[in-house]
Amino acid sequence: MAEKYLMKGNEALAEAAIRAGIDGYFGYPITPQSEVLEYFSKWLPRKGIAYVQAESEVSAINMVYGAGGCGKRIMTTTSSPGFSLMQEGVSYIACAQIPCVLVNVQRGGPGLGTIQPSQGDYFQAVKGGGHGDYRLIVLTPNSVQEQADMVYKAFDLSEKYLNPVLILSDGALGQMMEAVEFKEDYVKPAFDPTAWATVGGVAKRGKPVQLTSLFIEPERMEAKNFELQAKYKKIEENEVDYELYHMDDAELGFIAYGLSSRIAKKAVDLAREKGLKVGLIRPKTVWPFPTKIIKEYSKKVKAYLSIEMSVGQMIEDVKLAVECKIPVEHYGKTGGIVLSTDEIIAKAKKMLGK
């Protein structure tokens, strides 16, 4: 059995990245993410691994571009305002198809907002954020254990698809302490970047690498977009991940990811004690979104309740999934105010007409 550690979510994330074989980290301090940067600032230089505290998030994401473009395992972490600053770079990285892992430990917005946890960056994470037709693979941990596990997965997926992968976390998951175990049997999948990465391989390859997102001729730009879309389709077919909880006999389905799913799960248990047949679908990837399973269960449940720490963003994807066949309602809080199981249950009662 692996050893257990008591750690903050932010620290677990950094430790997992080191164990997953990170080759470089570039970041900028921002609450509630700074422990990740601090953890790396201690351990990476000691291990001889590249680490730079960049002059801004704009620079950090572009250092990720440069280093990731050399085929290395590269990561940056930030929180909401910082992730906004990174969007230009994210768009360039997505188009140039550079593998890397990005982390947004979400805080409340808009604007400078609050340092309290939030899920208000859902649109930014799954609908673009930067310019152009691109997608990020977006993983949504809901525990300190998953803050660690999803880092390995994120690196592997980013290399499998040559696509940036975003871990969409939040201030509560980053700050809370839980027991965590690190995989002892992790093996880095084989990965040979020499065909596309700037590693100095002209002699071997017979031609220089041009890592670019510039395609002036309309036909070449469109061809690039078709190439990206074909890749995104493959990801949608293969990488959707979710968890079902008491959905078998549910009359009402909760849908929640990340921290909200922890509270929603508790609400399911409490509601069932009161005789309410509710269940939970928890997306572990919000892009690709578990559209199919939500659609399938829409034939069994009477309604869905989308539970988010926002004014209602993911609910749009839930509605798209059910194609107006059943009612979909929202329950949420913003500003870092904690979701209430009592309020969720009251809402569930009402929706079930009880």
Binding site: V52, S59, A60, C70, E88
Partner: protein, 258 residues
């Protein structure tokens, strides 16, 4: 006698070889010095035999297609971000030389923070700075380096320094940083200056390979199209105005963080 070739039974000494650039036509306007810099970089890569020990970063600006010409692995940066990319590359490939090519809009305006911080950290990179005192690619707007009184498409009455400040002399700023080991200003308006520029390119790339710190090579350049001058007139303006405001020569030849 150095390298020789035999043609029609006769032996000739090689005095100059066409640089091993990629077989693409350069897109630069007639009379523009952008291409000269790229040819010189290629000559140095060839002579040192370091095609696979050097990585380049192209900017957003007229040198954007440098990766179509220079024959080594290259990345294309977002506008102003070349020094951040170069930092990322150099940190994970510490034994490679890394260079950027950047215009004055790219380097001195939108990318000033990235540039100054890379110099201050003493990244082991070369920054080739093509300063033509104008935004060439976007049609000749005012740059931070545009000369006092210079007419551009966005300073139609001439640069008013009360409104826009004085032209930024970036080489004079970065020379102050311990991180820079070599800061120089060169031109490419005649054979003598081209030869001097080549020496600077050589020295700078050598610094990067040997991890001596940041080399900042400013090429005081021209832009006949943006300046709305014929190539010949642009040379006159280049010599009479640009080189006066941006005097040529080495500004710093030693440094780097020990």
């Amino acid at each position: 006698m150095g390298e020789t070739i035999t043609k029609n039974g006769q032996e000739f000494e090689v005095v100059w070889k066409k640089p091993n650039l990629q077989p693409k036509d350069m897109h630069y306007c007639p009379g523009c010095a952008h291409g000269t810099l790229e040819k010189l970089i290629q000559e140095v890569i060839d002579e040192k035999g370091i095609q696979d020990q050097i990585i380049g970063v192209a900017p957003v600006g007229c040198a954007v297609f440098a990766y179509d010409y220079i024959n080594c692995d290259m990345q294309e940066a977002a506008h102003g971000r070349a020094c951040a990319l170069a930092t990322g590359i150099s940190r994970v490939l510490p034994n490679h030389a890394v260079f950027t090519i950047q215009g004055d809009g790219d380097l001195a305006s939108i990318g000033l923070a990235e540039t100054l911080h890379a110099c201050n950290r003493g990244e082991n990179i070369v920054i080739f700075f093509y300063n033509n005192a104008i935004y060439g690619m976007t049609g000749g707007q005012m740059a931070p380096t545009t000369l006092p009184g210079q007419v551009t498409s966005s300073s139609p009455d001439g640069r008013n320094c009360k409104l826009s400040g004085m032209p930024l002399k970036v080489a004079d700023i970065v020379k102050e940083f311990d991180g820079t080991c070599y800061v120089t200003r060169q031109a490419a308006n005649n054979a003598v200056n081209v030869r001097k520029l080549k020496k600077a390119v050589e020295k700078a790339i050598d610094n990067s390979l040997n991890k001596r710190g940041t080399s900042f090579v400013e090429l005081v350049g021209n832009c006949p199209s943006g300046w709305k001058l014929t190539p010949v007139d642009s040379y006159k303006w280049w010599e009479e105005n640009m080189m006066k405001f941006y005097p040529l020569g080495d500004i710093k030849t030693e440094g780097g963080i020990k």
